[in-house]
């Protein structure tokens, strides 16, 4: 107890989060050592940073006068590619996520199917989109198809996993009741399970549109199409006004997508 008795005065100190004092100190010390090592491992070229400050300031200034016009052809081309990639990859991703999500739910799928689907999910979640994009570009050539497939795979990792978890915590009573009527497997899914997971599936899909758009802006860096390539070029040429314009457009689209998906989700309760 933290109430210590000394004659006359009773002191009180807040009991610490970690009970054992030794462990507390060990963790604190470990953290301090780690931090000093980690910070020490960063080599900062302060001269370069100092030089860069001017450029950083130029970039900030660029936001007050973004240049949409000079590279508008590149921007609009990249933007359309990004948007088409977003739409197609989200649709494709959802269509593939549903069977994989069903397969990855332990209460629906037999063990081999379960392991296979979980494997697909694990791979798509572990590797960052960019790494997968590099491989897809190597396989399918430069262009938005590689980006589309990358984002579809990433969508599976996200959506199928959450869908499977959702299915695993449905109310089994409702599903059992539908099974007891003599329903076929698909009817059982349609009546017993789909109504229970649908609202969240729609919510997550809308959220994924938003993520896919943001990701579509980076896969271009490795040649998989979209606005990322334009942005990369703008930075390479130090054209901060164009870069600022692109970033402003991205932020605006993400805000719009977030706002409208919020409206849809609120209606869907």
């Amino acid at each position: 107890m933290s109430v210590a008795h000394s004659p006359g005065i009773r002191r009180w100190k807040r009991p610490p989060l970690i009970k054992s004092a030794r462990l507390r100190w060990a963790i604190g010390l470990g953290a301090a050592i780690y931090l000093s090592f980690a910070i020490g491992s960063i080599e900062v070229n302060w001269l370069r940073v100092y030089e860069g400050l001017d450029r950083g300031w130029a970039f900030v200034i660029a936001f007050t006068e973004p240049d949409f016009v000079k590279r508008w052809r590149d921007i609009s081309h990249g933007l359309i590619e990004s948007l088409t990639m977003t739409v197609t990859s989200t649709v494709l991703g959802i269509l593939l996520s549903i069977p994989i999500g069903l397969g990855a739910a332990r209460n629906l799928a037999p063990l081999p199917v379960y392991l296979f689907c979980r494997g697909v999910i694990a791979i798509s979640r572990t590797f960052q989109e960019i790494i997968i994009a590099i491989f897809f570009v190597a396989m399918f050539g430069f262009g938005p198809l590689a980006g589309l497939l990358t984002l579809s795979l990433a969508t599976i990792g996200f959506l199928a996993k959450l869908l499977a978890e959702d299915i695993e915590d449905i109310d089994p009573g409702q599903a059992e009741a539908v099974r007891a009527t003599g329903a076929r497997w698909l009817q059982w899914i349609n009546y017993g399970i789909q109504p229970q997971v649908m609202p969240r599936l729609i919510g997550l899909s809308l959220y994924r549109i938003d993520i896919n758009f943001r990701e579509s802006a980076v896969v271009g860096i490795v040649g998989a199409g979209g606005i990322g390539a334009t942005l990369n070029t703008a930075f390479d040429r130090y054209e901060f006004d164009t870069a600022a314009a692109i970033i402003i457009i991205i932020i605006a689209i993400v805000m719009f997508a977030e706002y409208s998906s919020g409206l849809i989700r609120a209606r869907l309760k």
Binding site: G173, A177, V178, A180, T181, G182, A183, Q187, Y191, P195
Partner: protein
């Protein structure tokens, strides 16, 4: 009509839920299955329509042996057994009508059910049943908007639209208040009588069971320890089923019910619709 022979269920954990049950339910008989929690009542009922796979033994519905059926035949056999659940087990985000019609799933193909295109005869029957259970004004309400008693009525309609030969009823009143419990039990028993259905009703409340059923089976640790008429449940019989306890209150209650009909019954008889009204409000 329904016959269980040496039915055994052993769970993978090693628990033996049923230890060789032999039971026969003739057509049209309403039977209560009583016993302490964990006696295997739910398992027994679920072994009949194989929501739980029995480990050994046979289940015969009419001439058909259910325990050896393949998936398709099992589905067709399940149509002949309506099931009513403890927590109603309605699909909460579907409407009342969709829940009732889901009882027809065994009869219609996938695409028809997916598009909600049920045959007109099923829809007529659904309306008739909803009227019978007193919910004809709530057709398009979502199931999670209903009260407990109303939900159980939907559950009953869902079981009946299957046009079953037997009802498997799992603790129909466990989540209901005493008055609604009686109404629901009465409704189930009336419907069984109207349609000549047999029923197995799992129930905790011994007094309630005694009020409505023709036969009581007591289950203890996966074995049948009592099988007889409801008024044969003496203190000794109850002790054998549930263990040592002072049973005088339960038994006295039963005797009261027998000597004079309960007040509830009295007031309902001139007003047969009261139950339905109670269900609606």
């Amino acid at each position: 009509m329904l016959r269980l022979e040496k039915l055994v269920k052993r769970y993978p954990t090693g628990d033996e839920a049923l230890r060789g049950i032999d039971l026969e339910v003739p057509a049209g008989q309403v039977m209560a299955l009583i016993g302490p929690s964990g006696a295997g009542k739910s398992t027994l009922i679920r072994c009949i329509n194989r929501l739980v796979e029995p480990s050994s033994g046979r289940v015969l519905l009419g001439q058909e042996e259910l325990t050896s059926l393949g998936a398709g035949a099992l589905r067709r056999a399940r149509r002949r057994m309506g099931m009513i659940f403890q927590e109603y087990a309605l699909v909460e985000r579907l409407s009342v009508m969709e829940n009732v019609l889901s009882g027809q799933l065994g009869y219609v193909g996938f695409w028809k059910s997916w598009l909600r295109r049920f045959p007109q005869s099923a829809i007529d029957e659904a309306f008739r049943l909803l009227e019978r259970v007193g919910l004809d004004t709530m057709v398009d309400k979502r199931a999670d908007e209903l009260s407990g008693g109303q939900r159980q009525r939907v559950g009953i309609a869902r079981a009946l639209i299957q046009d079953p030969e037997i009802l498997l009823v799992d603790e129909p009143t466990a989540s209901l208040d005493p008055k609604t419990s009686r109404q629901i039990m009465r409704l189930i028993c009336e419907l069984c009588e109207e349609r000549g259905l047999a029923a197995i009703i799992n129930i905790h409340d011994v007094a309630l069971a005694q009020m409505f059923v023709q036969r009581v089976v007591g289950l203890q640790l996966g074995k049948i320890v009592y099988d007889g008429p409801p008024d044969g449940l003496s203190a000794e019989a109850l002790t054998e089923i549930y263990g040592e306890e002072d049973w005088s209150a339960t038994i006295r209650k039963v005797e009261d019910e027998e000597t004079e009909p309960p007040a509830d019954e009295d007031t309902t008889s001139p007003l047969p619709d009261r139950e339905r009204l109670a269900g609606i409000t």
